[in-house]
């Protein structure tokens, strides 16, 4: 089922992307073509097939590990915040959230 202009705006909101109504039409046409391509796999019979969430699970010797519950990071906040758009007194600045 092709996406409607309203659905494009809903997706854009969910993805936190501003999409203007003018851009919206081109985006909608291209997304619908991609969804059309994807539809080919929807019809495949996958009854009883275990989903494969990670390539690693199929490799011999693979498995997720847990590390020791120990502090491994040192305080480098000044270095990390040096690349932030707006920082004051060690805090990230954002527009007012609560009135």
């Amino acid at each position: 089922m092709p996406l409607s202009p309203d659905e494009i705006q809903r997706l854009a909101r969910l993805a936190r992307l501003a999409v203007s109504p003018e851009e919206g039409e081109a985006v909608r046409a291209q997304l619908n073509r991609v969804l059309n391509l994807i539809d080919e796999m929807r019809a495949v019979d996958t009854a009883g097939v275990e989903p494969m969430s990670h390539a690693v699970a199929t490799a011999p010797g693979a498995g997720q590990r847990l590390r020791a519950d120990a502090v491994t990071e040192t305080d480098r906040h000044a270095e990390y915040q040096a690349v932030a758009p707006a920082v004051e007194r060690g805090l990230y600045l954002v527009p007012k959230v609560i009135e």
Binding site: Q30, I38, M52, A59
Partner: protein, 486 residues
């Protein structure tokens, strides 16, 4: 010297017939002369390169040199490098200087290599032509009106044009192998989990894998010896005994079983690509390999599955770019939500936005089972096809891409047509398998053709061995692109 392989350069450095400073200067001069045309590098820092080269020469003089000490190389601009821009080909990170090095960057630094600079790429590795880069497309040195492929197009162009003896790349759906094929160089996508993803900016985490790009298989093996290995900072990094990727370079071809999937030799492939690939396979047969015809019946579903899984993971990974902690932030906004929306609309290009929206859709309420879960199930069917195929053969061969490098701008407004061009490179990462592209000839227009070799998990050394035997008997990998003569 510029046309020497990395292995030959390593020998020259060891013998003292050239110093790392001299070699680095040669590369920097060539970059200065040709990068204006090729746009292969986004960032070059000659002073830093020469500083590292001097350190490498001192290390050699002190008797502490390793096999790669003093070798200049380039990193794809997806690998975080401390003290140098890491843009990922995006406006979002156009001013980003990472506070830390990627694992791969650390490994090469420890080996004593010299960083020449950071190479151009499709934005966030999303693209197969390098045209989605915010910094403009890299060009194909064989014909600068053609794309070098992507997403690791800058690395491929740099190696092909002899700006660097080797470069790193990353591969999610073919981003090492397709540009290698389009530019006549070699590229290996290792088994998932062999190379750490720490500090490699994430696109689709269950598929992304770093790997080397160079002029011959022997060089790829040397580079893998430095790149591969366990890293606790990547939870998917595998704990395995250290292996020597050069160990099978002289293994005999006699008895090698080469699988030829019928699906990789069907309709939609340029006749000249098919002809060159068949000639290469005939060479292997003439030298003792046995050909086994087989089927990968679900491989036709690989592209649709990929365009569910990769965008889904991308939409999640790229949510971190919010204009708060790093990267671009829009100037004017009404409130926090508006700041996010404008920042991301300005910072991301059209292809990245498209994939974020597709990913958001397939993960959204009511569609998750029909798209994402279904794609994961079909992904398993694709992986099973390979597992069954490898009971009958040792490696699989076919074309890396259905065509040679296409012209800049071709199908620019038709993403689906572009996506279908990755039909032969997408299956291996879905199954987590290693795959390699090597040059095997040219079409009538003089553009390179790539031969793809796919192996079972951890069969890298075997793939490299087969490729090396072929390269000892052929000189496709020695040819220098017409547009960038030595």
């Amino acid at each position: 010297m510029l046309n020497s392989t990395l292995s030959e350069l390593a020998g020259a450095l060891a013998r003292g017939s050239i110093s790392s400073v001299e070699l680095t200067r040669l590369c920097l001069e060539r970059i200065a002369r040709l990068n204006g045309v090729l746009n292969a590098f986004i960032t070059v820092d000659a002073e830093r390169s020469l500083r590292e080269a001097r350190a490498a020469d001192e290390r050699r003089a002190a008797g502490r040199a390793g096999p790669l000490t003093g070798i200049p190389l380039a990193h794809k601009d997806i690998y975080c490098t401390r003290g140098m821009l890491t843009t990922c080909g995006s406006r979002m990170l156009a001013n980003f200087v990472s506070p830390y090095d990627a694992h791969v960057v650390e490994r090469f630094a420890a080996a004593g290599t010299v960083l020449l600079g950071k190479t151009n790429m499709d934005e966030f590795a999303m693209g197969s032509s390098n045209e989605t880069s915010y910094f403009g497309p890299a060009k194909n040195p064989w014909d600068t009106a053609h794309v070098p492929g992507g997403s690791s197009g800058g690395s491929a162009a740099a190696v092909a044009a002899r700006l660097a003896p080797a470069a790193t790349g990353t591969d999610t759906g073919g981003s090492i192998r397709q540009p290698a094929a389009f530019t006549g160089v070699c590229g290996l996508k290792p088994t998932y989990g062999v190379v750490s993803r720490y500090g490699m900016i994430a696109f689709a985490s269950s598929l992304d894998q770093g790997g080397p790009m160079a002029r011959c298989a022997e060089d790829l093996a040397l580079l893998m010896n430095a790149m591969a290995g366990h890293d606790a900072r990547d939870s998917t990094s595998l704990e395995r005994a250290t292996e020597d990727y050069s160990r099978e370079l002289s293994a005999p071809l006699a008895g090698l079983r080469i699988g030829l999937p019928r699906e990789y030799f069907g309709a939609g492939i340029a006749p000249e690509v098919l002809a060159r690939v068949r000639e290469a396979i005939a060479w292997f047969e003439a030298h003792g390999a046995r050909l086994v015809e087989l089927d990968l019946p679900n491989s036709r579903l690989a592209v649709p599955v990929y365009y569910v899984i990769a965008p889904a993971e991308a939409s999640s990974n790229l949510s971190r770019f919010d204009g708060v902690r790093y990267g671009h932030r829009a100037r004017g906004y009404a409130d926090l939500a508006d700041m996010y929306c404008r920042t991301r609309a300005e910072g991301f290009g059209a292809e990245v936005k498209r994939r974020i929206l597709i990913g958001t859709y397939v993960l959204s309420h009511g569609y998750y089972d029909a798209y994402y879960l279904q794609a994961q199930k079909v992904r398993r069917l694709i992986a099973r096809d390979f597992a069954e195929a490898f009971e009958r053969c040792d490696l699989i061969m076919g074309p890396t891409a259905p065509s040679t490098a296409f012209a800049l701008g071709a199908n620019r407004d038709d993403p689906v047509q572009r996506y279908l061009n990755d039909i032969f490179t997408i299956p291996a990462p879905l199954a987590g398998l290693p795959a390699l592209s090597i040059p095997c000839g040219f079409d009538a227009a003089g553009l390179p053709v790539g031969l793809q070799l796919t192996g079972k998990h951890f069969a890298e050394a075997r793939l490299l061995g087969a490729a090396h035997r072929y390269q000892q008997a052929t000189d496709w990998h020695r040819r220098v692109p017409a547009a960038t003569p030595l």
